[in-house]
Symmetry: C2
Subunit: 144 residues, 2 copies
Amino acid sequence: MKVQTTSYRELIARQGLRVTPQRMAILEAVHKIGNHPTADQITDFVRKAHPNIASGTVYHVLDTLVQHQLIKRVTTDRDVMRYDGIMESHHHLYCLECNDIQDYVDVELNALLQEYFKSKKIEGFEIKEFVLEIKGTFNKCKNR
Amino acid sequence: MKVQTTSYRELIARQGLRVTPQRMAILEAVHKIGNHPTADQITDFVRKAHPNIASGTVYHVLDTLVQHQLIKRVTTDRDVMRYDGIMESHHHLYCLECNDIQDYVDVELNALLQEYFKSKKIEGFEIKEFVLEIKGTFNKCKNR
DNA sequence: GTGGTTGCAAACCCTTTGCACGGCA
DNA sequence: TGCCGTGCAAAGGGTTTGCAACCAC
């Protein structure tokens, strides 16, 4: 389950990107923080080891990583960007109370959707990926 | 298919909100513009009839309408807010090329998801609503 | 060596906020 | 009339940009 530091180097190099300490640290941060960190949280995390990293660099690197499919941007209805290190197909639980976004992995659901859209084409549109937004409330958030 | 202006008045009043020209105009704008307008597009549209409306008011009213479930916010991975006047359960096509977001209505899909989650509960989470993000490319955007 | 990356800081722009006036109920 | 809603303008804050120094290849 634990990802080795060396893996980050490989992942970056494999994309034909230059391997820099900042890129490795940011990719590591997105994985280690988990729970869809904001750029701000990532910056804080990375500064523990790289105190001088500029926030502009963080945004720039995050953008590069997204473009090379090493991380994803999470869709939200708010105005801060969140990132996700899990590249396997998965879904998201949006809590309407605490605004937290949790991963929801469900292989069976993936298969169901794949199967459904195998027969039901969408006119003029080629599907690459699904993400189901499941909106509701965590039980722990019920009484607030 | 066409929504009467009087309907907007009713929709607003039904929520126990004061009916103001600005609220009617903004609710109308979200419906008439369609295609998930930004606050900016909405402001432009509304100013044709209400040249003096303040952008602060537009944001404030949009927020009120969202809270009273007269419109929805659309989730995006970018940093501008988009709004949606369709309140019935539906899904979204995200074009990875042109970044356009199109509505996708599919009653059969709704039923399929309802059915699936009737038997498959999510531990500690109560589901209120689904939105499937379908990411891909429109055929018209293929060669860019 | 050299072209892509980073650090820094200012600019940007979307959104929020505070306050006084205005208009809906 | 009372109070919520609006207009205005400034503040706020997340993200982008420009440029010189730096460093991975």
